[in-house]
Subunit: 179 residues, 2 copies
C-alpha cells in the first residue's frame, strides 16, 4: 500500500486534486507507478472516509468539479508514523531472467540477439529516465537543501539500477560470445 502514503506525502506538501497527483506521479522518476487512474481516485475516496484528508469541491463550467484534497492533522500523524517505520526491502521483478534461464540452450547468434534486444531496451529506458529527471526535477518539493538533495538521490537510484542492469548485460554478452 505505498500509493496511499505516496498520496499522503504529496498532500503533506500542498493540497492537490486527483488529476494533479496523477500527473505528478507519472512525471516523477521517484514513483514507479503507471499513474493509473483507478487507484488514485479510489484511494482518495478511501482516505477521505478514513478522515486522513478533507475535500473541497470547486464547481467548474463545462468540466467535472475539481476536488481539492488537504491532509488533516490525523493524516499528518499517520504519515509521520509510517515515515519512521521499518524500511521495506526493494523488490526486483525481472521476467527477462526467467526467459534467459531457458534461453541458455539457444544457439549463439539467437542468444546474442536476445541479449542485444535487452541491452537496447535498458538503454532506451536509461535515456528516457534521464530526460524525465531533467524535466521532472523542477516539480519536486525543495523546501530545504537536504530535501532537494534527497529527491535528486531518489531519481538517481532508479538510474543506477538501470545502469547496473546495463553493465551486467554487456558483460554477459561479451562472455557468452566466448562460451
Amino acid at each position: 500500500m505505498d500509493i496511499k502514503y505516496a498520496i499522503m506525502g504529496f498532500l503533506s506538501w500542498q493540497p492537490f486534486t486527483g488529476y494533479d497527483l496523477k500527473k505528478m506521479m507519472s512525471a516523477s522518476t521517484a514513483f514507479y507507478w503507471s499513474g493509473n487512474n483507478n487507484q488514485i481516485y479510489t484511494t482518495l475516496v478511501q482516505l477521505h472516509r478514513e478522515g486522513m484528508v478533507t475535500q473541497e469541491i470547486q464547481p467548474q463550467e463545462h468540466l467535472p468539479s475539481r476536488k481539492i484534497y488537504t491532509l488533516t492533522s490525523g493524516g499528518r500523524s499517520a504519515l509521520d508514523e509510517w515515515v519512521r517505520s521499518a524500511p521495506e526491502l526493494p523488490v526486483f521483478k525481472k521476467t527477462f531472467l526467467v526467459q534467459l534461464a531457458w534461453a541458455a540452450r539457444l544457439d549463439k547468434p539467437e542468444l546474442d540477439g536476445l541479449l542485444a534486444k535487452y541491452e537496447y531496451e535498458i538503454n532506451m529506458q536509461l535515456l528516457m529516465l534521464n530526460e524525465k529527471k531533467r524535466r521532472g526535477d523542477e516539480l519536486n518539493p525543495a523546501r530545504t537543501s537536504r530535501e532537494k538533495y534527497i529527491w535528486e538521490m531518489i531519481s538517481e537510484n532508479y538510474l543506477r539500477s538501470y545502469a547496473a542492469e546495463l553493465a551486467w548485460v554487456q558483460e554477459l554478452r561479451r562472455e557468452a560470445a566466448l562460451k
Copy 2:
C-alpha cells in the same frame, strides 16, 4: 504470467511434482517468488487443462499421491516461442524511496537512523543471497558450460542489484550527514 513459463522451463529440464517446483523456486536465487503454494498448484492445473503438460499420479501410503508433471511437445514449443519473444523491462519496486521522499524533513539523527536501518537490511539480504547462491547453484541445470555460466550470471544479477542499492545508500548517508 512469468510463473507459468518458469514452471514450463523447469519441466523442460525434467519432470517434477508441484512440491519439487516449490522447493526449487524458493531455493533458487534466479526466481524471486515466495514459492507460494497457491500459484504453483493452480498453474499446474491450468497447464494441464491447456495440454502443456501431462500428469502421472503415483499413489503413496500415508501421504497424498505425488503428481508428476511432464512437458508435452505442445508445451515445449510454447516455451520455445516465449523464450524467443521480446524481452520485458525489469520492474523495480522500492517502497523505501517513497518513505525516504517524505522523510527528508526529519531531523538529521532520525533520517540517518532510517538510512542505517535500510543499509542494514540490504546488507543482510546480500549475505542471505550469497549463501543461497552457494547452496542453490548445485541444483541448477548445467547441461552445457554456457548454460552453467548463464545460470551463474542470473544469480549474480540479483546480487549486483542489491550491491548497487547498498552503495547508493552508503553514499546517501555520507552526503546527507553534511547537509
